[in-house]
Subunit: 132 residues, 2 copies
């Protein structure tokens, strides 16, 4: 079961639009955080670091949702619900630099902390909801 | 078990800042939508309409999270996790007009659909996470 993000909403992933990523806590309750989002080959990619709350949550339960609001029109948005299909550290440092370029116009991610290990989460959409 | 939103983040609820509300689907997976948010006496209030997905989800499982990003600085946000303590239609039509004033500077909510019955959800914070 997979779904597509309509072409006419893909611009949201080119803008500096934040996603709100929801994961599930150990007790099944939802947890929501702003994230940088990327669109690659039909999937939504999110980058975090080993050991963070969302990293632990996703490894326990891969079911997530990401809502992206158009910064130019808050009444236009896309919500993607689905599962994290792949979790990988491979390419994650390069990918966070790419996100820094997109969101901060910097060639290198400037917020890295000592010993931080980046992780990439690839989300396959199962349900896509759009508005606006 | 309840938590407080720090005083120095309450300005987020005075700005035209959208919340991202996450609720739980029947299978326990998360669902996330932009919402208008209000802060009242330590609680976060959200307004929706009878029969909507989030209305059904909340009535099945009151556990939610709301993340509010500062529109003036996307790296500053507050996340509130907690339970919907009260669901009521009382005062909900007046409340949506109040939200229309805040977000649209209109005295009356302009998007009402025929037969729509507004519902107010009052969320007691259990965990509050801030950044920036």
């Amino acid at each position: 079961m997979s779904a597509s993000i309509p072409e006419n909403y893909l611009d949201l992933f080119k803008k500096k639009a934040f996603g709100s990523l929801s994961t599930l806590m150990p007790d099944g309750s939802p947890q929501t955080n702003p994230v940088w989002v990327d669109y690659q080959n039909g999937e939504v990619w999110v980058n975090s670091a080993l050991g963070r709350l969302k990293d632990k949550n996703i490894k326990r339960d891969p079911r997530v949702s990401v809502a992206v609001i158009d910064p130019d029109n808050p009444y236009r948005f896309v919500e993607v619900r689905g599962k994290v299909r792949e979790i990988t550290q491979e390419g994650a440092p390069q990918h966070i630099d790419k996100m820094a370029k997109k969101y901060l116009d910097k060639d290198k991610y400037p917020f890295a902390q000592a010993g931080e290990q980046r992780v990439l989460y690839k989300i396959t959409p199962e349900h896509v909801h759009t508005m606006g």
